[in-house]
């Protein structure tokens, strides 16, 4: 499948032939793709396809066996996670990891802002510091003094996003942000993601809930058993026979709710 067309600028993120195995099990095999600045990329694939491993490699939580990762043209392969965050790349975790000893506000305040991103400034209203802006965006400002561990599942996911935004990234990786959310929460989250996109953020989203993802993404990459099997616009990917076959093993590509 073809990738995007000619890119006039350096890609926001470039992944080149990344391979990673764990104890004999190949999680990623020669995966390559690029994310253009300002786009929303969706990464989809059946369970076990290697999506979270990909995120872990890109964000420095796992070292790849082979391959390179470049952020805005600079190599970041193998750097420690906090350094990568400092370069403007943030992520959320699939299962939220709140700081249970802290309040909502403190949990966001812990984040170290990079100098690279512009999203905090773009979010800026006339009032409020970083914590307030970010919490107001995800609508958790009213709950800022509550314990981070006491939030509902949906609010925990929003807190994940808030904390990631608080690092002032240029590129944000969201790992299954919609999992476990009810319809109202999903709408809210989509709105937040679109707001962030409008503020200039490049986004990469792993998601199972294809209906939501296909609405958001301009560019989709499909992983299956650690390999990239499709790379293109949502329409192209949805028609790709390899993709349909991969999903037919479990559920059809269009039947996710």
């Amino acid at each position: 499948m073809t990738g995007q067309g000619v890119k006039p600028m350096t890609a926001a993120l470039a992944v080149e032939t990344v391979t990673k195995s764990f104890r004999g099990l190949t999680a990623l095999s020669g995966v390559s793709f690029e994310v253009a600045r300002g786009e929303i990329l969706g990464v989809i694939g059946p369970n076990g396809a290697g999506k979270t491993t990909l995120f872990n490699v890109v964000t420095g939580f796992t070292r790849p066996d082979n391959g390179r990762v470049e952020l805005a043209g600079e190599a970041i392969t193998g750097l420690p996670p906090h350094v990568i965050v400092g370069r403007g790349l943030a992520r959320t975790f699939q299962i939220p990891r709140p700081f249970k000893s802290l309040t909502v506000a403190e949990a966001v305040a812990v984040a170290r802002a990079s100098k690279v991103g512009t999203v905090i400034r773009a979010l800026g209203q006339d009032h409020g510091d970083m914590v307030e802006r970010v919490l107001r965006l995800v609508r958790l400002w009213e709950r800022r003094d509550e314990g981070a561990g006491t939030l509902s599942q949906g609010d925990l996911k929003l807190l994940e996003v808030a904390r990631a935004i608080a690092t002032n990234p240029a590129l944000l990786l969201l790992d299954e942000p919609y999992a476990g959310l009810g319809p109202a929460e999903m709408t809210h989250l989509t709105r937040v993601i679109l707001d962030l996109h409008r503020a200039g953020l490049t986004l990469v989203v792993i998601e199972h809930k294809l209906r939501e993802l296909m609405k958001l993404a301009q560019h989709v990459v499909v992983l299956h058993f650690g390999e990239k099997i499709a790379d293109g616009s949502p329409a192209e990917v949805a028609r790709d026979p390899r993709v349909l076959q991969a999903y037919m093993g479990g559920r059809g590509a269009s039947s996710h709710a």
Binding site: P98, K100, S101, L102, V110, R163, T167
Partner: protein
């Protein structure tokens, strides 16, 4: 932050000020000696808490730091003016903090604890072996530049300073970061925090304060020997921290006073002291993980609402 700290600072000034004035009524030197010891252990226990309670990396080798301070007092006491010995002790302790911290802090949880256990034992062996320098098992006699009363007041002053510094750090954004790292260091790294650097920072801070206390400890005992590096010394600090209540700074200080006074009052059953301490530890871990401080908070829930007791976090690990 000042607003949050003010009640506790006030409380500290009252309590420690009260202790400082105690000699006006009580002139029994034995009592003063026990209180001096308790104050010094309170310094060791609270300085231990900033790493072990806040970041949750249980340090079983805190004795390295106050032992370094004590030996610094032993080596340098005769050669340096008294005022310089204190910072020397702190520097020695910080040196060891780097030596111990750099290999150990990469490790997580229990592995870190077991490794920290080892360092005091190595120093104990070295102290025995290089007896020309360290006096072997007999140690070094130390000539305190202060009278017993002076030492008592110095210990209280150092305790006050230690607690105020640690509380300020704990309530600051640095303290929140410590707690975040303790909750989930990977998530903290994903938020841009250099977890290893913070752990090292907590280690160094605790070490410096313990080193200062170690100097006074050597003065108090008039002696320093390899037994300061023994397993039991390190464990005693852990016991005080846990019984007092980890993660609260004031809890371990309280635990230190409680156990030291308990230990002295059990003088008659001196032989059973260690047994009782370890039994208390086991019971505490199993039944009262929040320690004395946590119990106190439970009992005075009303007082907390009016902001009197501050926002010390309770954590169970």
């Amino acid at each position: 932050m000042i607003r949050r700290l003010a009640p506790r600072y006030l409380g500290l000034l009252v309590v420690i000020g009260g202790l400082a004035l105690l000699p006006l009524w009580v002139s029994n030197p034995y009592v003063l000696s026990v209180l001096t010891l308790a104050a010094l252990y309170a310094i060791f226990a609270s300085s231990w808490d900033i790493l072990s309670g806040y970041i949750g990396q249980l340090n079983f080798g805190h004795a390295v730091f106050f032992g370094a301070g004590a030996y610094a007092a032993g080596f340098l006491g005769p050669h340096l003016p008294a005022l310089l010995v204190l910072p020397a002790g702190a520097v020695a302790a910080v040196g060891f903090a780097f030596l111990v911290g750099v290999p150990c802090l990469k490790l997580r949880g229990p592995y870190l604890s077991l490794t920290t256990l080892v360092f005091p034992l190595i120093l104990e062996r070295l102290a025995f072996t290089f007896r020309d320098v360290t006096g072997g098992e007999y140690g070094i006699t130390v000539d305190p530049p202060l009278s017993a009363m002076g030492l008592y007041l110095a210990a209280l002053a150092l305790l006050l300073a230690t607690l105020m510094v640690l509380l300020a750090v704990a309530e600051s954004r640095i303290g929140s970061t410590f707690r975040a790292i303790g909750d989930d260091d990977q998530a903290a790294m994903a938020a841009g925090v250099n977890a290893t650097r913070f752990k090292l920072g907590a280690f160094v801070l605790g070490a410096a304060l313990a080193g200062l206390g170690g100097v006074l400890y050597a003065y108090h005992l008039r002696h320093v020997g390899p037994e300061i590096f023994s397993l039991f010394t390190s464990f005693a600090i852990v016991i005080m921290g846990i019984v007092g209540g980890m993660g609260t700074i004031l809890g371990p200080a309280l635990g230190a006073f409680f156990l030291t006074l308990l230990g002295e009052s059990l003088r008659e059953i001196e032989t059973f002291r260690v047994l009782i301490y370890s039994a208390v530890l086991i019971l505490c871990v199993m039944l009262f993980p929040q320690g004395l401080w946590g119990l106190g908070r439970l009992l005075s829930g009303l007082a907390r609402k009016s902001g009197m007791l501050g926002r010390a976090r309770i954590r169970s690990r």
